[in-house]
Symmetry: C2
Subunit: 343 residues, 2 copies
Amino acid sequence: MERKRAKSGEIRLTEVAKLAGVSPITASRFFRNPQALSLSKRERVASAAKELGYVPNLAARALASQRTEVIGVLIPSLTNNVFSDVLRGIYDASEGSRYSIQLANTRYSILQEEQLLRLFQAQKPAGLIVTGIDQTAESRAVMEAMNCPIAQIMEIGPDPVDMMVGFSHYDAAFAAVSHLVEQGFKRIGFVGAQMDPRMQRRFGGYRDAMKAASLFAPRLIVTTPVPTSITLGGSVFSDLLSKAPDIDAVCCGNDDLALGVLFECQRRHLSVPEDMAIVGFNDLEFMASAVPPLTSVRTNRYEMGRSAVTMVTAAIEGNRPPQPVLDLGFQLMIRESSSPRHN
Amino acid sequence: MERKRAKSGEIRLTEVAKLAGVSPITASRFFRNPQALSLSKRERVASAAKELGYVPNLAARALASQRTEVIGVLIPSLTNNVFSDVLRGIYDASEGSRYSIQLANTRYSILQEEQLLRLFQAQKPAGLIVTGIDQTAESRAVMEAMNCPIAQIMEIGPDPVDMMVGFSHYDAAFAAVSHLVEQGFKRIGFVGAQMDPRMQRRFGGYRDAMKAASLFAPRLIVTTPVPTSITLGGSVFSDLLSKAPDIDAVCCGNDDLALGVLFECQRRHLSVPEDMAIVGFNDLEFMASAVPPLTSVRTNRYEMGRSAVTMVTAAIEGNRPPQPVLDLGFQLMIRESSSPRHN
DNA sequence: TTGTACGCGTTATCAA
DNA sequence: TTGATAACGCGTACAA
């Protein structure tokens, strides 16, 4: 009695092997490691596969091999421009490899991150890319249990789970504020939003640079947990002005805030930088074309995404990079908005 | 002779079934269609699964069932803000469902799109979301062969592959230009970049609105295939000004260009809207907070992503939406940058 | 370099 | 509503 189940109708490896006159396993090897075959068989399998239009069944491959060719990626936001550049780097790099990307959005929540990590764990990805270095203990445990190469991106710090690609937000902000100090600004405000860990470390850089110059004062600071936006930049700057009307410069936790501050200055007829200097963070595209051009800290976001994939894929294939932590640095882009103060 | 292969070490369905005292298939049903079980067995399987920490093996499931729970998504850009909103809608909606998203970037290339479509085809996704309505004939053939629900997003048009969610870029641009005409502007320029199909249809709306008002003139138009950016907005506007120094308004193909135009006006000390009116397209966040606030056409990008997932998942599960084409419309956001001309 | 034998963990099919 | 059986298409392990 025949109660076979329906076959998929797709070409299978066996059929390719048959046409090529080799055993299925030889055909299998052809797709994973062609060099292991003799030249003649290699050619025969290649042409058979082409003729039949064979496409490997990834599910079967994953089941049999107990692994996948997926790299999981966890980022905190799909809207923030900063991450679109990182993502572009990630997707560009993945296309040159055999790995595909599985993306998820943590929405800046470390609990959501924990959940997503568990979800990923079930799929046994070949590698993992996570944003930042502030995972929960539980998240770290899951990551360690996953037993695959992992890159933490966007910043670097002590105690990597595995590998890291980023830069020091603290140092970068410290450098930006030091620049303002050198330019002769004295009452330098800080505006921050979202207040995720990297924003907090940028604030730390501001705080310590101000303290180092003996210019620190709590009244110069306005922060909010509200998600960042250009519009928000205007309103936090307004708040700052009511607390400290005498400020002569603003260090903005990111570029969106900086642009919002610039617009607010235009609205209030404050000249930049004569009445108010502005520095931002990330050097998004608009900073250079604003009027006046806005000083910012350039970060290598595309490269961060690209390197993360490169490092992870290399590690998957056994070629771990010699140094697990890659510091991509930053570059202070000095523009008109922070021109020296002429007293 | 024992040469068993290593088991994965994970809990399998069989073990859950054993602990629950049912057959594997019953346990299997519990995860896919709990209502098919009697209450007592349902509870027993549930507690056994929980006790063992069972996680389904997706590869095995895909292999056995010949399908996946993946929705493929093809978008033309990861950098363009317009798509981050769409993506957010897509990812938000997918989290409420059992489906996961597989994202790929076509980089505005219909050939790349074709390739990616073939790649997706191999993975037999349960559904597909593609951007725009201008696929190659080959791409359409692949999509039809995929035999799964498909949503085309961002715009609507005749002859859907399956379903559509979007709006008419032509109508939206026509409305924006008509607004400028009504406000009394006569020499209305157009700047466009990237010139992807949607940009071209926006241009078509501009052209026809201008012709309808007997204001059309080729010298008022500057376009470039270069990818759009704020900086580019400034330079194409400069080009436009050299061709047509007497223009009194600019219709920008998107908001990035519009902001670049505003900055260029500031650089040239042209007052907006007195010397130059500006309208953009998409109503990105910065349009409302620019100085002056910039008129734009608001589009429902988040909702486009969300509805696309909703429609596709409904269709996968047999509940096809009654109307396959969903027009999400647009809304003209009139702001100071297009205030009426007082001659 | 190639092949044999078997199992990966699940679900479809059919029967009860 | 439940269960027995047989795949799903491929890769691992080992031997030759």
